[in-house]
């Protein structure tokens, strides 16, 4: 793939715009609240697009195309089962607690609902996780640019990190959110033409059906057993593991995405943010998964569309999208496509850094290091933690380059911590007798259960570091099963300990627990402002899509 002047021009204009956004917004930043929370002043359409864009990182754009090649249409479960329902649940049921409690972050909600130790556990693991994720994203970007364009690894790392630093340092969360919206349009408009050209070359939908094996062109067929579908998962682990535990755990408790809804102008808009975001979300497979399926169809008809192998000698599925870009895009639009890829990496990195600086400032620094300082002081801390976050990300990128297995291990540990989290929130929000000790030890037990399950099972040669009691058909299946087991253990331990420990007084739980929170009375005045009605419409559309592509 060789870029021409026109392609570099598009990339340069994009860099210029993202930096300018930061510079212009700098004038609006006066306090720590402006910098870290956008002063809860962002309009609905921006929070909604930022909500899905914060998740539209490289793992999504490259990873879902890769999954499209591996699993075919089954990949849409990550959207139609693993996103839509959870986003609606967040908007209808959970947002009133997050927004209504005036918590500035998800860990702060845990402090209000439970106690400081639960908050501390969540804040520290989240902060560490976000900066490492940001670094891994940076590493992946630099490696990709090195492989497909021959760019120097060091130049790519420092260029991308430098630009993200400039716009997040100058304009804070507002700047990150504004850029996420620009990045959303760039990713969609930059990759959508690839799908159209690819489909045309493959002979349209009929051509795809003819040249892609039938087993990959369904979404529910063969789900009765893990051995009869390309994903290697069964319906129970798919629905309970992905559709409930992982999806709800991510969309409803990960501060990286929840933060985008929490900066809305009012509660109604905060509730509608994830629901409106779910509309483009259920259509995203057309842009991010279809390239993988189109590649399969093209491989069956033309030469030159084979994927390269990685250092281990395995097929490098992550090269699915770059391969299509190189083969189908001429210079000019190729620059837009490459910029879209860079944007997805930067979007993911900025999202992580802005979530990190908020949690570090409010939940670690203000809680444990310096309480009751001035707004200006927290603004400086927020800015300093932004720089620190970027520097740690750069260091992580270099560590990942040298010790790839350490990064795999870290990601694995983070997944253990995340798996049971939704049980803690679910019980806390819907059962007033859930106690702080129950939540804390439930979380620890769920994390331990996740690690233990991984140690006792294997999939694709991974896991089984204690002994191998069971072999899963795929790594995906193992991840789904670990998730639901961790959830169940956390749920049961939290429940049992809560029965024998003293809950908080009911007056301290008003606005934090469903049964003790006054219900909104103006919900149904106008249908398009009613989160429940909007949610039901999205559910109906999602159900229809599931039936159509059965």
């Amino acid at each position: 793939m060789k870029l021409e002047l026109i392609d570099y021009l598009v990339i340069a204009v994009y860099f210029l715009f993202v930096v300018t956004i930061g510079y212009v917004l700098k004038k609006k930043i006066k306090t720590g609240n402006d910098f870290l929370m956008s002063n809860r002043s962002i309009p609905l359409w921006i929070t909604s697009l930022a909500f899905i864009s914060a998740n539209l990182g490289a793992q999504e754009v490259l990873g879902m195309a890769a999954n499209g090649v591996k699993y075919g249409l089954y990949t849409v479960h990550f959207y139609w089962l693993g996103a839509a329902l959870a986003m609606i649940f967040l908007g209808v049921f959970m947002m009133p607690f997050y927004y209504g409690s005036k918590a500035r972050s998800v860990p702060e909600y845990l402090a209000l609902r439970y106690d400081e130790k639960t908050r501390g556990f969540n804040a520290v693991t989240f902060a560490v996780m976000t900066v490492f994720s940001s670094g891994i994203s940076l590493y992946a970007l630099a490696m990709l640019l090195n492989i497909i364009l021959g760019w120097d690894f060091n130049v790519s790392v420092f260029l991308a990190a430098g630009i993200v630093l400039i716009y997040t340092f100058l304009g804070g969360l507002t700047s990150a959110v504004y850029n996420e919206v620009l990045q959303f349009f760039l990713i969609v408009l930059g990759i959508a033409p690839l799908v159209i050209i690819g489909m045309d070359k493959a002979g349209g939908w009929q051509g795809i059906l003819q040249h892609v094996e039938d087993a990959k062109m369904h979404i529910w067929k063969g789900m009765g057993s893990a051995s009869t579908n390309p994903m290697g998962v069964d319906a129970f682990s798919l629905v309970f593991g992905l559709g409930f535990v992982l999806a709800f755990g991510y969309w409803c408790t990960d501060f990286l995405v929840v933060q985008r809804a929490m900066i809305s102008r009012n509660l109604n808009e905060a509730q509608r943010t994830p629901i409106i975001a779910s509309m483009p979300k259920i259509l995203m497979p057309a842009v991010v998964i279809m390239p993988g399926i189109i590649l399969l169809a093209l491989q069956g008809q033309f030469s030159g569309f084979d994927l390269p192998v990685n250092a281990n000698g395995d097929t490098d599925y992550n090269m699915a999208l770059p391969t299509l870009l190189a083969k189908l895009y001429p210079n000019g639009i190729l620059g837009v496509g490459i910029t879209a890829l860079i944007a997805s990496f930067m979007s993911g990195m900025a999202g992580n850094v802005t979530a990190f600086n908020t949690v570090f400032t409010f939940d670690i620094y203000q809680s444990y290091i310096k309480k009751n300082a001035s707004e200006k002081h927290y603004l400086y801390v927020g800015k300093a933690s932004t720089i620190a976050g970027i520097l740690i990300s750069i260091a992580t990128a270099y560590i990942a380059r040298s010790f790839n297995s350490i990064m795999d291990l870290l990601q694995l540990v983070f997944s253990f911590v995340n798996a049971p989290l939704f049980a803690t929130f679910f019980l806390g929000m819907f059962w007033k007798k859930t106690t702080a000790n129950g939540a804390f030890y439930g979380l620890l037990s769920g994390t331990a259960a996740a690690a233990l399950t991984h140690g006792l099972t294997t999939a694709e040669g991974k896991g089984g570091w204690i002994t191998n009691l069971h072999t899963f058909y795929s790594g995906t299946s193992q991840a789904f099963n670990i998730a639901w087991i961790a959830f169940v253990v956390c749920f049961i331990v939290t429940f049992l300990i809560s029965l024998v420990t003293r809950p908080k007084a009911e007056k301290d739980l008003v606005g934090l627990v469903y049964s003790l929170t006054p219900k909104q009375k103006d919900m149904a005045k106008v249908w398009y402002k009613n989160p429940l009605v909007l949610g039901l419409i999205i559910l109906g559309v999602t159900l229809a899509l599931n039936i159509f592509f059965y």
Binding site: I6, Y178, F185, L189, P330, G332, V336
Partner: protein, 66 residues
């Protein structure tokens, strides 16, 4: 400067500029026979249309607010 705080204006400006680049490149640039260069003009015009639409939207909403 105040207009730059309107995200619709910024997004519109970006896509208008990229749309112009792609359209001009299609007209003046080399015609590579191995790939479909027509995609540049179609995407260029689409981006231009989208960009101008966003800029107009930013002005229309401003008038409505006033």
């Amino acid at each position: 400067m105040k207009k730059l705080l309107d995200l619709r204006f910024v997004i519109g400006g970006f896509f208008t500029l990229v749309g112009i680049f792609l359209s001009v490149y299609y007209i003046l640039g080399p015609k590579d026979t191995t790939v479909n260069t027509q995609v540049n003009i179609w995407c260029g015009l689409l981006f231009l249309l989208f960009g101008i639409g966003m800029v107009i939207l930013s002005y229309v909403s401003k008038i409505n607010e006033e």
